[in-house]
Symmetry: C2
């Protein structure tokens, strides 16, 4: 394991060979609707204070224990990133790539991240829990996520004493993470359900099935660009298999409904939908400044246009990358300096034009 | 004079050699702000009932008198168009080219139009008055309009007995046309005064100078695309020279203020204005359907962009033509059949795309 890798070694837009995390840049099954799948396990160490109560010394000991464990396996090529050593913009980059959480990078002592080269395994140390093992894969791949997460979990469980109770399962600071500690989620893109005004009905139905719907940036965030994160609400009382099966089955239904809505749109409202898609394309191609919210909205239309074969000169993979590259920290990293929001709106439209031409 | 020319002979979009009236397709001074200049003389014949009171027989006699007079001069190459013989769409075409008025084409008996080949002289017969002599020139050319109008007026006055009183000047059905019977007007394009929120103050000031501001289609119409028609309110009590001088002086000030506003916009709000212009361009280029109102609004931005040298691959003359070609009758004539409004929105965007590429 290359412990020397630090924040300077993270792939960043300024690197000539910059590539985004593989969950963003690679393709996956059903990706025209399911952008990505994620599995997250919350784990805590026995006889250690939870991160929010522990002092710096104890937190550092936890980091060392975790690093030590990780160093004894080479399968996943994990590297350690010391969050405390990262400049603000680099921390934000990690959040924008969904490799860590806003809460994690806000902490002002003793926390870190284990990350593999493909950036589809990310293990937060001392976030809300001692360990948060996260797997991210492109498209609809919940089983593959789970297999990977389970394998990594075993590596740590073999070496570390996890806090575990027969009654409550894996213990956690937050009761919603008790039991399996598993949060399985999919990021879905539902423009047609939105355009046919069926989205709210659908989201309501989802929340009655023990699932939670969130916006693109996770907890507490608004939906932007018709993208929703759907995850299990309860981690206690169901097995990992049940949790994953439930999410899989609901996601399969969502895919079907979105697909039907797209077909219906093309059949019943082709002119309107073609117009909205082409206008979105025209604005993205020519706007001189643009906010990230508007960009996501318009990219959503263009992405629908590609799926409907209305637009054929744009690659859907490029669009997925653009959804990340237009975020504030990525824009600033790309420029090599801090940018005011207004300046970012200019750079964002430059970047989009560059990619669209 | 070629009396055989009838509505089939009017230049129409379906003709391969179709060209619009010269006041639209040719260039004139200050045309980036003053689209066109117009002079209109209202004249009535002595001892004849006004058109709204006259019977068909008398109206036909008037037409014959006017045609007979026109046939004795060859300078202007005037041709007669019998409005009653025109299909509805051809009547609308004449209105869309500003060669006649909506009231004139609505009449159901004995009216007509004398039109020259360049379509910059149009003489309505039996509109509200027996004769309405109209000259249209591109850009800011009020004196040239007046010279032409005066010359044509002389031709008719030499042969026909005009209704004239020492006290009230040329007599007319409407008191606002008494005196000189002269309505001088300019069509101005004021996007920058609008974008800098100075347009209402300016229009208010204009109306206090004895001038009237109207929308693009004349009396009672709303402004669209930042285009305003400015004309004299009063025809009685001022000489033709005074009326024209007043309008010229006000127009000169409007040109200066719009020019200043454009410079100020570029200096103080370049990003915003560049963004609005380029978005308008992108939408026009890619929309799948578009209303005429939105088209005029967006063309106004693109036209400003050309003047500000933000857009350099579009010809301003083409834009001026497009403002006419996207109107309902032109679209229908171009298709060779009647089109529902929704269908027109599709054809309109096709036409724009064709011209923009």
């Amino acid at each position: 394991m290359n412990w020397k890798r630090n924040w300077e070694g993270i792939n960043l837009p300024t690197n000539e060979n910059y590539k985004l995390s593989s969950w963003i840049s690679e393709k996956g099954p059903n990706q025209e609707i399911v952008l990505s799948s994620r599995m997250r396990l919350a784990r805590n160490l026995e006889e250690r204070s939870y991160p929010n109560c522990a002092g710096e010394k104890e937190l550092n000991e936890i980091i060392e224990l975790v690093k030590e464990t990780a160093s004894h396996q080479d399968d996943f090529n994990l590297c350690f990133i010391n969050i405390q050593e990262l400049p603000e913009v680099e921390r934000q980059l990690l959040v924008e790539k969904n490799l860590t959480s806003p809460a994690h990078i806000k902490k002002r002592m003793a926390n870190g991240l284990l990350l593999n080269n493909k950036e589809n395994i990310s293990i937060m140390i001392n976030e809300e829990d001692h360990l948060r093992i996260q797997i991210l894969l492109p498209g609809f791949q919940l089983n593959q996520c789970w297999e990977k997460a389970d394998k990594i979990d075993d590596i740590f469980e073999n070496k570390l004493d996890y806090a575990f109770s027969e009654k409550y399962g894996y213990l956690s600071t937050c009761p919603t993470n008790l039991g399996t500690g598993l949060r399985a989620s999919v990021m879905v893109h539902l423009p047609a359900l939105n355009l046919t005004n069926n989205i709210n009905k659908m989201l309501e139905a989802i929340s009655q099935l023990g699932l939670v719907v969130r916006g693109i940036y996770g907890e507490g965030s608004e939906s932007a660009g018709n993208i929703y994160q759907i995850s299990n609400q309860i981690t206690l009382g169901n097995s990992e298999g049940e949790i994953i099966d439930n999410l899989k089955s609901v996601t399969t239904q969502i895919i079907e409904q979105e697909r039907n809505a797209r077909e219906r749109l093309l059949k019943e409202q082709e002119i309107r939908v073609r117009d909205e898609i082409m206008r979105a394309y025209g604005i993205l191609k020519y706007a001189h400044k643009i906010s990230s919210e508007e960009t996501l909205k318009l990219l959503s239309h263009v992405s629908l246009g590609i799926d409907m074969e209305i637009i054929d000169n744009i690659d859907s993979g490029m669009l997925n990358e653009l959804m990340i590259l237009i975020r504030p920290a990525h824009l600033q990293k790309n420029e090599g300096k801090a940018l005011e929001p207004q300046k970012r709106d200019l750079k964002r439209s430059e970047l989009i034009k560059e990619r669209f031409n």
